[in-house]
Amino acid sequence: MTKIFDRALYPYARHPDQDANAPVRHKVVIIGAGPVGLAAAIDLAQRGVPVLVLDENDRVSHGSRAICFAKRTLEILDRLGCGDVTTDTGVTWDHGRVFFGEREIFSFNLLPEDGHKRPAFINLQQYYIEQFLVERAQALAAEGAPLEIRGRNRVEAVGAHSDHVRLEIETPEGPYALHADWLIACDGANSPTRRMMGMDFVGRVFEDNFLIADVVMDADFPTERWFWFDPPFNRGQSALLHKQPDNVWRIDLQLGWDIDREAEKAPERVIPRLKAMLGEDVDFSLEWVSIYTFQCRRMERFRHGRVIFAGDAAHQVSPFGARGANSGLQDVDNLCWKLARVIAGQSPERLLDSYDWERVYGADENILNSTRSTEFITPKSETSRLFRDAVLDLAEHHAFARPMVNSGRLSVPCIYDDGPLNGPDCDALPPRTRPGAPAPDAPAPDAPLDNGWLLDQLGRGFTLLAIGADPPEGLHEIDPALTVLVTTRDKAPVLADRFAGPAPSALYLIRPDQHICARWSQASAADVASALARASGLKHGASHD
């Protein structure tokens, strides 16, 4: 069977730029057509910003790679026009089991809250996400959106200047050069762009190897996340089993540090390991095998003038917690509306510095969580193993110890507390919707769509949401692109509960990336104008150094 990753989806084709006498200038060039680069291209193109994606390859990535996609990612994909196909293709799960040695010590349910369009998590091979993003990008281009993907265009040199970036590009038919007003580097953890610019990427190396095997099998294991500490089939180490679509199962086995990595990747070594785990009589075939080590690290800054780094190119975490691709998509969500405003002349360049502040904050949160998970899963001293095992022993019998069991703290969206774009808060309103938080979804039964969802109603620009209160007069004069949504507790009780709590009224200013920037119980047009100016980078807030 030909897999999607065996097909050229955006084959090399000669472009007139390659025959131009002088380098052609582009508004935005994105390096890398992984999930992060493709999502950025779609987001910018949807905002009318011309964008060119350069990828050294011409197809989606081989192997499942990232498999766990969080609710926030699905919401971002909704905004990008491929949330439905991603959710429908993925496997929705909310149960997990934890084993210690021979015993199951407890099981858990993520207990997703009702009243959200999207589930807490789906599992889906990364190549599917990339395929859906490529298809969405190509559909946008076919509709006339200014988006182009050039396959087998490898960037060989980057020259950063104060008003443009020069790119030297290698193709199957020889080199050419381009100029870009802005460059977004989404070229992965080993980012050649970062290396060419001589940027540091420092952090902590974890001395451990993990075997990833994606196996195809007809097995009747339930759709659950199974995690083993010190299992009989992998003594002293850990193991993970997780289901993906098409009967593909992700198996992750910790191998330790002193191993022969090439030898361990060979099928004659991998297959006996998997048989020990799955049982001798289970039929399976290997789809993808890889051995990885990991680091937790980030760049000091993600914006360097006109070159902006996103995704793994900017930060890298351990895989425990699904914080890689999910945080990369949050980078894109955060960056693209800001860059579009700067390019359109609606905001000053310093708005982009808030990308740096907010996503560095997000990266630090992810690095903290994934470092803690790693320390729990792979204890590196006798004492840390002693306490880790004590937690696991207690967890079998006592509820209090279960929250200490850390087999990965699954990705939740970052809340930009004290972020530079945040405006006024209101103590009478619920903590979960404070400035900096992503707006929680809620049923919006009075929406233009029957039984619609709040997040689908939010605008491409800023949105003012008024609950149990009239929006102030004159908002259109302040921002003609402002979307105004008005509802009441009677019409949308869940929404009112999430956003107003017990308060009789609430007004929220929501950013284009669906994060809340300010809220009031009552607000004047001047209040909204002031918060809008702050969130658009037009007005300095408190300094953040």
Partner: protein
């Protein structure tokens, strides 16, 4: 309550000490270490006050350094 109690708080200190020794009796060193680890986790959860726990961690770490310096 955010103060760590470092004055006498047990009605029967000898009784507690003797119970502590009793649960360790006959255990190997690794078994004893594991029991101590479980005990710390149980007590920490019972205390539940993160400020008190931080002070207890600090006090325990400091006391070791004082004892080392004293050569005991």
């Amino acid at each position: 309550m955010t103060e760590l109690t470092l004055t006498r708080n047990l009605r029967d200190p000898d009784g507690f000490y003797s119970n502590l020794m009793a649960v360790h009796e006959g255990l190997s060193k690794p078994e004893s270490d594991a029991l101590n680890a479980r005990l710390i986790l149980i007590l920490a959860n019972h205390i539940g006050d993160e400020t008190v726990l931080a002070r207890a961690l600090h006090t325990a770490a400091q006391s070791a350094r004082v004892a080392d310096r004293a050569g005991s």
